[in-house]
């Protein structure tokens, strides 16, 4: 039988979390199908059809799926489950929301946020904020898996999978979407950016994040934050990097005015290169930083900006 990957998208654009999840699914060894559940999402299905290594695209186009609300998503996926050995979704807030419902309905344990596929039933996943890595074997039967997308690279190449319509089950009618307040930004997405610059409590105010924005603009970086900076209202909640926020693994992560609590490290310690600017030389962030600058950020950041300008960034 095959593996089913649930696509991450916003009805217009296929998110790269899908390609990474498909890459994890390919390691299970069975043919990979992708389900695009959304509303007026034909362009997304067409994009999914071009993913390498995918044999078939299923599209379920109905208003109930417009925001991937958990209850209708559960019905749709559980309905398709008899045809699949494994169902995988990216560990985005969407995947985390609907997948455990699917697992419960199928009466199987979910394997959350896998980092690696050891064999078709054995996976590695982080526990305790990534301070330990568990190797777990799922029981015989269907596998329900969420994937930490930073741990998988999309497959190379291009495909041309056929797109097939699937019927949408009736909306259970117990939940409804009301509104959304999305942070708009011209910058790259936090979870897929090559460079991330994050600010912490040391920034002191939302205003001061403009200092980081100037650097972000020069480096085409995404902006992130610690929990303390989000709790204090400096930046929106979706900036939070960490155990209970977003997990990032860019080429370069620059932590500014962030102490380096284990919960924060959980979200960024797999970055290729880490730079830290902190006025406290004892800050734990320096224990994992490749480049550390002990300095007052209000002096160091403008200097960094000047230097970048001088070098033509």
């Amino acid at each position: 039988m095959a593996s089913l990957v649930i696509a991450e998208h916003d009805n217009a654009v296929l998110k790269d979390a899908t390609a990474k999840t498909a890459s994890a699914a390919a390691q299970l060894g069975a043919p990979v199908h992708v389900l695009v559940a959304g509303y007026q999402c034909g362009a997304v299905a067409a994009a999914a059809a071009r993913l390498p290594g995918v044999e078939k695209i299923l599209i379920a186009d109905a208003q109930a799926f417009a925001r991937m609300i958990a209850e209708p998503m559960e019905q749709l996926i559980v309905g398709l489950a008899p045809g699949y050995d494994a169902i995988l979704a990216p560990a985005t807030t969407n995947g985390k929301n609907y997948m455990p419902r699917v697992a419960a309905k199928l009466d199987v344990p979910q394997v959350s946020e896998i980092l690696a596929v050891e064999s078709p039933d054995t996976f590695r996943r982080p526990i305790y904020a990534g301070n330990a890595i568990q190797t777990v074997q799922a029981p015989a039967g269907k596998k329900v898996i969420t994937v930490r997308t930073t741990a998988f690279k999309p497959l190379e190449g291009a495909g041309s999978a056929p797109v097939e319509n699937v019927a949408a089950p009736a909306d259970p009618g117990i939940s409804k979407f009301v509104s959304e307040e999305l942070s708009r930004s011209e910058r790259p997405e936090l979870t897929s950016a090559k460079i991330v610059i994050s600010g912490g409590r040391g920034l002191q105010s939302g205003e001061n994040f403009h200092l980081l924005e100037k650097i972000a603009d020069k480096l085409h970086a995404a902006l992130g934050a610690s929990r303390a900076a989000v709790d204090a209202g400096f930046v929106p909640n979706d900036y939070q990097v960490g155990q209970t926020g977003k997990v990032v693994a860019p080429e370069l992560y620059i932590a500014v005015g962030i102490s380096g609590a284990i919960q924060h490290l959980a979200g960024m310690k797999d970055s290729k290169v880490i730079a830290a600017i902190n006025k406290d030389e004892e800050a734990p962030i320096f224990q994992i930083a490749d480049y550390g600058l002990v300095a007052d950020l209000f002096k160091a950041i403008p200097e960094m900006e000047q230097e970048l300008t001088r070098l033509g960034y």
């Binding site: 199987v108 074997q137 155990q243 370069l252 290169v273 730079a275 490749d290 550390g292 200097e303």
Partner: protein, 249 residues
């Protein structure tokens, strides 16, 4: 309306765990254990609903070893009315917890179950969603703000792109995110009062649930270690290193 709040006993969030030499798990002997921080937020939210007159009773449930009774006492000291301890040794997976909670919901008939979005030990982020599915109830996960009306609850959720509001028919399941509230501390008089509040003791068998784990843990290992690198003296030197040594800008 009753509100049910499941609470889990976990390693304190301030403690960095050590992986055992024999790779069977992490060392939990003699480390500080506390209520899962997201569950404290859940207890707080339930208490606020009762204080506003939206809820009549707050019931704290814990599934775990005898020592999980302390976690229930913490919830009672914060202000919960009574507790249920379902005694189970070792790891109890989210699906088994959800099945036990389902049986408790069928007995107690709460209008709302508020859980933490994830436990900081196994980081699964599953139990609330599984419970909702088993009951056929709607869910509002990663709650940032909730508002209760007669037959419905509006939940503002923290999502990857920002915030999303959904409206759910009651009864429903809510899971908490960090910004929902700031949990109160238990006052000394309330800690004393909590000692007299009732805690019922049960077992998974009382609810006809087999709590044996179904995932097999092959091993638990340390993550790859990162080493401290070099200190630079100026911002210009940092830029130079990032450009010419690391080649990342």
């Amino acid at each position: 309306m009753k509100v049910l709040v499941p609470v889990k006993r976990v390693i304190d969030f301030n403690i960095k765990v050590k992986v055992k030499g024999d790779q069977t798990g992490v060392d939990l002997s003699n480390v500080k254990m506390s209520m899962n921080p997201f569950d404290e937020i859940a207890v707080e939210e339930a208490l606020r609903l009762r204080e506003k007159g939206n809820a009549t009773e707050v019931i704290a449930v814990s599934i775990g070893p005898q020592a999980a009774q302390e976690t229930i006492r913490t919830a009672l000291a914060m202000g919960a009315d009574r507790g249920i301890l379902v005694k189970a040794e070792g790891d109890v997976e989210p699906l088994a917890v959800a099945k036990i909670l389902k049986a408790i919901c069928e007995e107690e008939k709460p209008g709302l179950v508020i859980l933490g979005k994830q436990a900081i030990d196994d980081d699964s982020n599953q139990t609330g969603q599984m419970l909702a599915a088993l009951l056929g109830w709607p869910q509002g996960t990663f709650a940032h703000k909730i508002e209760l009306s007669d037959a419905a609850i509006s939940v503002e959720r923290e999502i990857d792109g920002g915030l999303q509001t959904v409206e759910l028919k009651l009864p429903a399941v809510v899971t908490t995110d960090l910004r929902l509230n700031e949990p109160r501390y238990a006052s000394l008089p309330n800690i004393m009062k909590a000692k007299k509040k009732p805690i019922a003791e049960k077992t998974p068998a009382d609810y006809h649930v087999d709590a044996t784990p179904r995932l097999k843990v092959i091993k638990v290992t340390e993550p790859p270690k990162r080493r401290a690198g070099v200190k630079v003296k100026t911002a210009a030197e940092l830029v130079d290193k990032l450009k010419n040594e690391a080649g990342v800008i």
